[in-house]
Amino acid sequence: MRLLSDIGQFLLMLKGMFKRPEKASMYWKELMHQCVEIGIGSLGIVAIISVFIGAVSTIQTAYQLVSPLIPLTTIAQIVRDTVILEFAPTLVCIVLAGVAGSRIASELGNMRVSEQIDALEIMGINTKTYLILPKIAAAMLMIPLLVIIAMALGIWGGRLAGTAAGIISPNIFDKGLAADFLPYNVFFALVKGYVFSFIISSVPAYYGYYVRGGALEIGRASTKAVVVSCVLILFADYILSALLL
């Protein structure tokens, strides 16, 4: 019953976002602000995770491929496909659910508890449109870009680790990267990026916007937002893989 009520309220929140903005320039400013917060603000952690995930996957793949019959280029192919298909979109988005999602939930929760949302409502501003829509739009603009950056950095990290550990030379790695490359995989990763970015922004926005109580409830809402977002990302990952691959 509680789940149905949450889904209903979530859908009403999404519906309530689509109202005519009071002043387009203010919404544009807020959208740009959110792009910086979500995109640039998460760039550092995305870069670090991507490089190390790529590096680790190269070393572990090489560790498992012990047969002399398997060419070394296969390592690069496996690293490329796992990074593009899974690590860059899914792992990065799970991390972003923690970074950006908790920030969205706690920001909105704090605004709710300290009556800042009420103050905006009293001014005649549609708070769902002004506060939630730019966050979702910014996430859907920036997170797919972060996924692309994560793909590039992940593969680069794998190449770097392979070379540094003496597992595979850069030339062979590059040759493996180009072999049997399917552009559809990138398309699939971007589809996942868009779906996950919607989850990462809308779910925490819902928990933050409707928080009741004080500081403790903001913390709880933030944690719940991250947990639910992660579960939904994994569920969506399975559904998309089953449908599109």
């Binding site: 704090n110 103050a119 005649g124």
Partner: protein, 270 residues
């Protein structure tokens, strides 16, 4: 003018406001007083449309707010300024940006015009050199004054203040009360103040609505309070011996008679 007509509000089975009616006129401070939990904040939230009453009407210039469409409601809200109990300043914005926010959102003024208006209202609330400060860097009284400046920056017709003195020392409370009173008269604003600060009641209450357990128990002016025989009101307003004495003294000034023996004895002793 704001007319409150037979407002009723329930949360679940609990009736929080029961058939409250009142008329709040422009150019005067209309106070809603009552103990904690008496329903005054809920009534104010109904008045500004943050809560929808189960029954009754809130009329702005004769038009029921809850019968209006979204656009009409938005237009009324543009005429409302509100000072919240916790100030509700936007944490991420400076004082200047906070006050400029309604101007940015609802006017087409140029940047210098907006800045001029911000400085005007800041000066009006006696604040200087705080433009670049963030709310976290301000004292409680300064936050209230910034919030008041933001509430009046668009020259509202209606000003709502939810416990403007909560958490402030008596001297700062007086400054805030005086500011609210001056702005009300100066711009002929219909001001509605939720308070349980007795200084505010006696200093600024042009019209006072006393609520008790969700019902309107008494209404009148601050002068009427002195002569009121309503026991619940007297117990609430003049709760301490000191305030009871103050009431007796005021009554003596007004009528030349002492109201009861208790005070005569006290005064004789002193």
């Amino acid at each position: 003018m704001i007319e409150v007509k037979n407002i009723q509000k329930k949360f679940g089975d609990k009736v929080v406001i029961e058939n409250v009616s009142a008329e709040m006129k422009p150019g005067q401070c209309n106070l809603i007083i009552g103990a904690s939990g008496s329903g005054k904040t809920v009534l104010m939230k109904c008045m500004v449309g943050l809560l929808t009453p189960d029954q009754g009407e809130i009329c702005y210039h004769g038009d029921n707010f809850f019968s209006m469409n979204q656009e009409q409601r938005t237009n009324i809200r543009k005429e409302i300024g509100m000072l919240f109990q916790g100030s509700a300043l936007f944490d991420s914005l400076t004082v200047e940006q906070n006050i400029m926010f309604p101007l940015d959102m609802f006017t087409t003024d140029s940047a210098p015009q907006k800045l001029k208006r911000v400085n005007e209202v800041l000066e009006r609330v006696n604040l200087k050199d705080v433009n670049r400060k963030f709310p976290a860097e301000l004292s409680g009284g300064m936050k209230k004054r910034v919030a008041l400046a933001r509430a009046v920056v668009l020259n509202p017709k209606y000003l709502f203040c939810d416990e403007p003195n909560s958490g402030l020392d008596p001297q700062t409370s007086l400054v805030i009360d005086k500011l609210i009173q001056e702005l009300t008269v100066e711009f002929n604003i219909t001001t509605v103040v939720n308070t349980h600060d007795m200084n505010s009641v006696m200093e600024t209450g042009d019209y006072i609505l006393y609520m008790y357990q969700g019902k309107k128990e008494w209404e009148g002016t601050r002068k009427d309070i002195i002569f009121s025989k309503n026991q619940l009101l007297n117990d609430f307003i003049f709760a301490s011996e000191f305030l009871k004495d103050a009431k007796d003294m005021r009554m003596l000034e007004e009528t030349g008679k002492m109201p009861n023996v208790r005070n005569m004895d006290d005064m004789t002793r002193s």
